[in-house]
Symmetry: C2
């Protein structure tokens, strides 16, 4: 299971300030710490970026690439910003992401073909809504797969995000339990070993600082991994979760187990 750091987010004041001042050093420091903390990839969550989106995205991608060779995940709904990011990407890049919403099929999906990159596809309805049942999610996954084929993109490029919902939603626990089955069934339903990703922080969206946040997240992450999850977006500075992720790797990877603590 690959760990994608979700720490570079425009919602953080320090990141907004770094962008406004074109202060690459702050971004480099943040990303360097992400890599040291165990990140396998860096999500660059810029938001829509507004005016001068291309220039702003270039600032972020350049700053990240100055300090790491890890894959970058271009995380915005603005196709102009995505294209700008892909143009200056030297590291392996992943588009995050598209869904069945017509404007995303039209504007974002073709970029995966043009730039020959992986792309995350969200299991959302055409209206951008979260589906309520596992069956709806699996149906949407088939439709997303069809769109990939129609665009003549290799199916191996697709990474499905089945959309983890906050536990405190009325049917949150039920949906997130069903999600485990969706992740397990997707390869059979689509007929190939499709990769999957979720944003773990969604689980505790709306949570107060809670003693049990870590334990719930770690427990659910273990369930996701056993269901076959390929990659996870998470706060890479949460050392407890990263330790759990490493333990999960040891449990699920082939080979002989050792109780010695590896580095």
């Amino acid at each position: 299971m690959l760990l994608i750091a979700d720490n570079l987010q425009i919602t953080k004041e320090s990141v907004q300030k770094a962008l406004a001042q074109r202060d690459a050093k702050t971004i480099r420091n943040l990303v360097g710490r992400c890599e040291e903390s165990g990140a396998d990839a860096i999500d660059i969550n810029t938001g829509p970026l507004g005016k001068n989106a291309e220039d702003k995205m270039k600032f972020f991608v350049d700053a990240v690439q100055e300090v790491t060779e890890l894959p970058i995940v271009i995380d915005t709904a603005n196709p102009v910003a995505i294209e700008a990011g892909l143009k200056c990407a030297k590291n392996r890049a992943i588009i995050n992401g598209f869904s069945l919403e017509p404007k995303k099929i039209e504007k974002i999906l073709p970029l995966a073909k043009t730039f020959d990159t992986d792309i995350m596809g969200y299991l959302l309805t055409k209206e951008g809504q979260v589906p309520k049942t596992a069956t709806q999610r699996l149906t949407i996954a088939s439709e997303i797969h069809s769109k990939i084929i129609e665009e003549d993109i290799s199916e191996e490029r697709l990474i499905i995000d089945p959309v983890l919902v906050p536990l405190i939603w009325d049917d949150g626990k039920n949906q997130d339990f069903e999600l485990l089955g969706v992740i397990r069934l997707l390869p059979d339903v689509l007929g190939f070993e499709v990769k999957t990703v979720v944003g773990l922080s969604n689980l505790s969206a709306g949570a107060p600082a809670s003693l049990k946040k870590n334990i719930i997240e770690n427990s659910y992450l273990s369930m996701l991994a056993a269901s076959g999850l390929s990659m996870v977006l998470l706060n890479i500075f949460n050392t407890e979760t990263v330790k759990t992720a490493k333990a999960i790797e040891e449990l699920l990877n082939p080979g002989i187990f050792s109780w010695e603590v590896s580095q």
Copy 2:
């Protein structure tokens, strides 16, 4: 997921001494602490008991029942001791357990009918060996189910232990990963909602005191629970594992989630 305390074990010197001196107070104290720590049932692991097995088993069962009304799990391979335990059981009792070994089919299985109790059935070969593959385990489960039917015992009485193996076995990780699928598939294979149990401490058998023992156990317990495990034998004094078990319950039980810490 029910938590069965595995803390009352004849392998412990304090328990051996309590038995030799018929010191019920030590047993009562131990079991009282198990209940306070969150146990839903008490495993009474007496070993074969040798001479005066009936009297010795009666000592344990009486001592436990003096302090708790929790179900008791009679855990010995000696059918004479099991029968003695069941005779003095006032609490709900579970036999732990039988397998396809002919002497167990002949001597232990009928006790579940005579005393109308639940019984744990181990997925071991007729020779008492641990099967190597998930397919072998599922085949043995069907054979165990047939034996239950042949003995005219209600299938709801059966609790299957698929036999968790130590991670450090050569193929330990692989077997324990396959175990998750076995637990998930058993209800479909047997055609009813069969209950399942594992002994969690087997996972780390042979482990040194290790920083990662808790995190590995908690992660794997989450995976077992998501696969549908009904009950687990564990060290109920390990507060970290019990906290994880409580978090798992909150994740998997129906109803609205709350981030508040419940008592």
